[in-house]
């Protein structure tokens, strides 16, 4: 009787059929593997042979990249600004250290344990960030990280306090691959973990779950109105991100055989935001590119001005925000008037 209530039989006319095949193509194109993705992994593997003396800094990059991919799930997908992601990184680092010290020297077990414990903390604290504005979320996440740092500092009998936790040796990976002096196996280990986590995050990004996260970020009110249970999704992604952040912390412990309270420091959370902003949020590889640029930059600065590199990092942050804003503003000029106002008001 009318166009929309017509059932499937009447619908399979030519235009609908074309639409369906085009839609299928669009959807497949969404998650095709991009050229740069292959390039990243080839370069990462090639580095083992090309730059065998730089493996320590490459390991550092891989760990930071993993940490950044974790935050990207929270920030780039769900749109939650966190100033305390180091809480999970630090907890993972300490768990891995304590595992190696008291229970088992094999690192993969420690890695999984660290991820699980951090994930539990992420799950428990995720309920604190469900409500409120950006500002309350910032403060809550910051507060949690500061509390963790305070706990680590005060429970010296367990964590070594300000002196840090050391005196443990990390055993061979899977009982076979020793951590060597050049950091070769350590790098490969970190790279494998980074690769696996990135692939998991990638699947997530193109799943209905990932789409719903971006919907929550883009327009939380409408997301509710198409049936997205936002709270549950945020709890899930925040917990998962905490698992990955904890694993990143564990990798740091295991490759350096030491944990200092620095793993929970504020600057770690702030640096991480900077990494993501350099690389771009919401497409996972931003974390990896950002980690590469940030680590090389920091390394170079700390050679040029050993004591004052922080100044230049700060300057870059400020410059980035100010120019980024301009770029965004030019962007908006291309949109119809109605939308530019809406974007600016956000």
């Amino acid at each position: 009787m009318n166009a929309i209530s017509q059932d499937v039989t009447a619908m399979t006319d030519s235009s609908a059929a074309t639409a369906e095949s085009r839609a299928a193509k669009f959807m497949k194109r969404r998650n095709r593997i991009r050229f740069y993705e292959i390039l990243v992994w080839i370069a990462a593997i090639a580095a083992i042979f090309v730059a065998p003396t730089k493996l320590l800094i490459l390991t550092e990059i891989a760990i930071l990249a993993l940490f950044a991919v974790s935050l990207d799930l929270v920030l780039g997908f769900a749109g939650i600004v966190s100033l305390g992601h180091a809480a999970f990184f630090g907890l993972g680092a300490y768990i891995a250290g304590l595992m190696a010290l008291h229970f088992i020297a094999e690192p993969v077990v420690g890695l999984i344990a660290a991820g699980l414990v951090s994930g539990v903390l992420g799950f428990l604290t995720s309920f604190l960030i469900l409500r409120g504005s950006d500002l309350t979320r910032l403060m809550t996440t910051l507060g949690i990280a500061l509390m963790m740092a305070e706990v680590a500092n005060q429970m010296a009998w367990l964590t070594g306090g300000a002196d840090g936790l050391g005196g443990f040796t990390v055993g061979p990976i899977l009982g076979t691959f020793e951590f060597d002096l050049f950091g070769r196996n350590g790098y490969i280990y970190c790279l494998v973990v980074l690769f696996l986590v990135t692939m998991i995050a990638r699947r997530l990004a193109f799943s209905p779950f990932g789409l719903s996260l971006k919907a929550i970020k883009g327009n939380p009110m409408r997301a509710g109105m198409v049936g997205v249970p936002a709270r549950r999704r945020i709890v899930a992604v925040y917990s998962l991100a905490a698992v990955f952040a904890g694993m990143a912390g564990a990798l740091l412990t295991q490759t350096t055989s030491f944990v200092s309270p620095d793993v929970l420091a504020f600057h770690r959370s702030a640096d991480l935001l900077m990494v993501l902003v350099i690389g771009g949020t919401g497409y996972l590889y931003g974390g990896i590119f950002g980690a590469i640029i940030f680590t090389l930059l920091k390394d170079w600065l700390s050679v040029v001005t050993p004591q004052y590199w922080m100044f230049w990092i700060g300057l870059i942050l400020v410059a980035m925000v100010l120019t980024g804003r301009d770029r965004l503003a030019r962007w908006i000029e291309f949109l119809p008037d109605r939308f530019s106002r809406k974007e600016a008001g956000r």
């Binding site: 009787m1 009318n2 166009a3 929309i4 209530s5 619908m11 235009s15 609908a16 074309t18 639409a19 369906e20 085009r22 839609a23 299928a24 669009f26 959807m27 497949k28 969404r30 998650n31 699947r203 997530l204 193109f206 799943s207 209905p208 779950f209 990932g210 789409l211 719903s212 971006k214 919907a215 883009g218 327009n219 009110m221 409408r222 997301a223 509710g224 109105m225 198409v226 049936g227 997205v228 249970p229 936002a230 549950r232 999704r233 899930a236 949109l335 119809p336 109605r338 939308f339 974007e343």
Partner: protein
């Protein structure tokens, strides 16, 4: 099957000292074409916000098919078949129309929590999304970023998105608002072609559209229901004219 599908009892909403919704008792019959009219600031959009859980009411209750849904979150109301469009587009501007509609279908089908399988792997969802976009005249732009679509197309997507949830009750908040004249007929055709088993509540200022579309009309003035009746009754009611003329004067 007839009966009351959507009902409010003593619904009130205050903003500070301002009473935006004042003791509204609304009954919407199954399959009705129910128009909600009233001058600007009468509280029409506030009422829709209360019905859909965007705002909590200060007092009173909302019932869907006889069940109390007052304290349910928006997404739960959507799952029960109550959804809406917005007066000002509330779209996912970074999404394509295809992604937008596919998301709503995925959530409706209860696969939104799946984080392992790509959407492309759900052939039925993609096909349905494509068919829906085709019916709403959006097939040609399904792969574009929503933000760059012409306003009329965005308006259609706004309705298509609500429709993707397969609502039993659909609340349309000024569907043709802001649409340029030459794209307007497209939106209106879609609205008047909505399937008859879907109950539609329509907010609209265009009286011509209201009178041709609606089976029943409620007039809202200053947050309260001023009068209610059939199209014939309302169009003949001199008080309703006065309310509108008073606004224009």
């Amino acid at each position: 099957m007839t009966g009351i599908v959507l009902e409010t009892k003593g619904l009130k909403r205050r903003f500070g000292a301002f009473l935006a919704t004042n003791d509204v008792n609304l009954k919407v019959e199954r399959g009705a074409r129910h128009a909600l009219i009233g001058p600007n600031g009468a509280g029409k959009t506030t009422l829709i916000n209360l019905l859909t859980g965007v705002l909590p009411p200060s007092e009173g209750k909302v019932f869907l098919e006889g069940e109390d849904i007052t304290s349910l979150a928006s997404f739960r109301r959507v799952k029960r078949g109550l959804t809406r469009t917005f007066q000002i587009n509330q779209l996912f501007t970074d999404f394509t129309p295809l992604e937008t509609v596919a998301l709503a279908i995925a959530e409706r089908e209860g696969i939104g929590h799946n984080l392992w399988r790509s959407i492309a792997g759900y052939g039925a969802v993609v096909d349905e999304a494509a068919a829906l976009l085709d019916r709403f005249g959006l097939a040609s732009v399904m792969g574009e970023r929503t933000a760059i679509l012409p306003y009329g197309k965005q308006r259609l997507l706004e309705i298509a998105l609500a429709f993707a949830s397969k609502p039993r009750v659909l609340l349309l908040d000024e569907p043709a608002a802001g649409v340029p004249e030459d794209e307007r007929h497209e939106v209106l055709a879609i609205v008047s072609d909505l399937p008859s088993d879907v109950t539609v509540v329509l907010i609209e200022h265009d009286m011509e559209l209201v009178f041709s579309f609606a089976s029943r009309i409620s007039v809202l003035v200053a947050g309260a229901i001023f009068t209610e009746g059939t199209v014939r009754e309302i169009s003949a009611d001199p008080r309703v004219k006065a309310v509108y003329l008073g606004e224009n004067a």
